[in-house]
């Protein structure tokens, strides 16, 4: 697993698109009016507390860059077959399950590096310009509790779903899912947004970081008046927040297990 992790990390981190896609996304976001990223450096506009600023930053970075993150990972598992490397790897005594986990963690970590660089870069710049150095421990905590579980969730599906559909189709469906399941508010249509299954991390943000938007008037978790699927939106408590994180990780593990079993079944047929 460690060998695959290291080499998958090495191969993915060298891909130019892993850097270009998030960089372009950020540039476009700022150009079309990503106000928070600019406001972070404006003493008159920036949030009063480092905690609020950092969680708000995490929401924007996570919501934006995770789309590219999922799309960039979509070919990593199926490319072993496309490149015809799979027979060589499958003929080694290394367990296919361990190799899958290594690929998941290695390629996922490499694709997350630019996201982490952007997030911690902005957080550090904010801390420096505002003098609120407490932003840095907050950034670490938010990254671990909000962004990492969401990215692990996305990576598992991005790696394995292309086993049953072409990667380009997955990318299209994934972008649709991301906007529908994370960005759309529940009063507009039935959506997984703001539920315990939300990889954007609404429950950890609300219950662990007491975050209700930069202005304090957004709802990131809990029952949404008039919305469907409210049974997936219990009152946000720290316990439910941890449960939400655990659910994302369990679903990620289920996706990986499904992918592993699908590959074993394919091997039996081939």
């Amino acid at each position: 697993m460690i060998a695959t992790l290291l080499y998958e990390f090495r191969m993915q981190i060298r891909k130019r698109s892993v850097w270009i896609v998030p960089a372009l996304t950020l540039v476009l976001f700022v150009l079309i009016g990503g106000s928070l990223l600019r406001d972070l450096f404006d003493p008159a506009e920036r949030p009063p507390e480092a905690r609020l600023a950092v969680v708000g930053l995490a929401v924007q970075i996570h919501a934006l860059l995770s789309i590219g993150f999922g799309c960039l990972l979509a070919d990593r598992l199926v490319r072993d077959d496309r490149l015809r490397v799979a027979p060589i790897l499958d003929a080694t005594p290394a367990s296919p399950g361990a190799r899958l986990v290594g690929k998941y963690l290695g390629a996922g970590a490499a694709t997350a590096v630019p996201i982490a660089v952007a997030f911690f870069g902005f957080a550090t710049a904010y801390a420096g310009s505002s003098g609120s150095w407490s932003a840095l421990p907050w950034a670490l905590a938010v990254f671990g509790a909000v962004m990492v579980p969401g990215l692990l969730f996305v990576a598992a599906f991005a790696l394995t779903v292309p086993l049953i559909m072409p990667a380009p189709l997955f990318r299209v469906l994934f972008v649709g899912y991301w906007l529908w399941g994370n960005v759309v508010t529940p009063d507009l249509m039935p959506t997984l947004s703001r539920t315990v299954l939300n990889p954007l991390g609404g429950y950890p943000m609300a219950a662990l970081f007491d975050f209700a938007g930069i202005d304090g008037d957004d709802q990131w978790a809990g029952p949404f008046p008039g919305a469907t699927l409210n049974f997936l939106r219990p009152e946000p408590t720290p316990l439910i927040a941890w449960l939400s994180i655990a659910l994302l990780l369990v679903l990620a593990a289920a996706a990986l297990t499904g992918g592993h079993l699908a590959r074993l079944a394919e091997r039996t047929r081939s």
Partner: protein, 294 residues
């Protein structure tokens, strides 16, 4: 490592039988496997390498049953495998690719691994290209990387599927020699379309035809299968319809001189010839070839 195959059957979706109740024993040493496209050679090799599962039948390698996970892992620990359709990671260098495969093969000690990778790069004459990305390698160079990765863990069983495809004549000879030297008390299963590769390296050979064993024996006995069936015929017209044309050369006296494998003389002027291995192969594989030509 002796390989015992009994009643091996592999049927793909749609009912296509790649292997049909194959029985075969492969002893230690170099062993050749011949057969036309679709005869089942690659499927057999994939099953022996533990990357495909049989539909029915039993395979043991060195006493390990490939039907069990433990058996497959035991075999794979001592296996070198060069697939027919070799692929590499284009974004890694030759050295990195070999290092990665070596790690997967359990060569955990960095010093031992580096030394082994270096030795094999030398063996396949790629030391000077070791730090170049594989993206820029020619087909022949990639094939040499494939050969190197197959030899990484000093395998007890080496399965090579069309190993000399893409190699130039000099590289082919070099690799054949390497295989012969490597064999010793190991088992090397060489599958190829190039009959000369078998003639130059193997004492024993099997011929597959439509997923079944068409022949098993020594290279000499396969050659003898064509005794009395090889003819030379010079004619200005087309080759005779009966029999298989092995070669056709412009004749000094005009027309074409054909080497033909046929049960009876293909013409009144046909002259008998001493058989070669290729003639023997065509003799035992003839039913399949006839069916393919039909």
């Amino acid at each position: 490592m002796r390989i015992e195959i009994a009643g091996l059957t592999k049927t793909f979706r749609g009912g296509v039988a790649a292997l049909d109740g194959l029985d075969l024993t492969v002893p230690t040493g170099m062993f050749g496997l011949l057969g036309a496209n679709g005869a089942g050679k690659t499927t057999l090799m994939r099953i022996l390498a533990g990357i495909a599962r049989p539909t029915a039948g039993r395979v043991t390698v060195g006493g390990h049953d490939l039907a069990t996970t433990a058996g497959r892992h035991a075999v794979q620990r001592g296996l070198g495998y060069l697939p027919q359709d070799l692929g590499v990671y284009p974004d890694l260098t030759a050295r990195q690719f070999l290092d990665y495969v070596a790690l997967l093969k359990g060569l955990d000690d960095p010093t031992v691994r580096r030394r082994r990778v270096g030795e094999l790069l030398e063996v396949v004459a790629l030391t000077g290209q070791a730090n170049r990305r594989l993206r820029g390698f020619s087909g022949g160079m990639r094939q040499r990387v494939g050969i190197a990765q197959a030899l990484l863990a000093d395998p007890r069983l080496l399965i090579v599927d069309e190993p000399t495809a893409g190699l130039d004549p000099e590289e082919r000879i070099r690799f054949r020699t390497l295989l012969s030297q490597f064999a010793g008390d190991r088992t090397v299963l060489l599958s190829t379309h190039i009959v000369d590769d078998i003639a130059q390296t193997c004492r024993e050979v099997a011929v597959l035809s439509r997923g079944r064993l068409a022949f098993r024996g020594t290279v000499e006995s396969l050659t003898r299968e064509a005794a009395g069936r090889v003819w030379s015929l010079t004619t200005a017209g087309p080759p005779p319809p009966d029999g298989t044309v092995v070669s056709a050369l412009p004749a000094a006296e005009g027309g074409m001189r054909y080497r033909i494998v046929a049960a009876t003389a293909p013409g009144p002027t046909a002259q008998p010839l001493e058989p070669a291995l290729e003639d023997g192969y065509l003799t035992v594989a003839a039913p399949e070839r006839s069916a393919l030509n039909a």
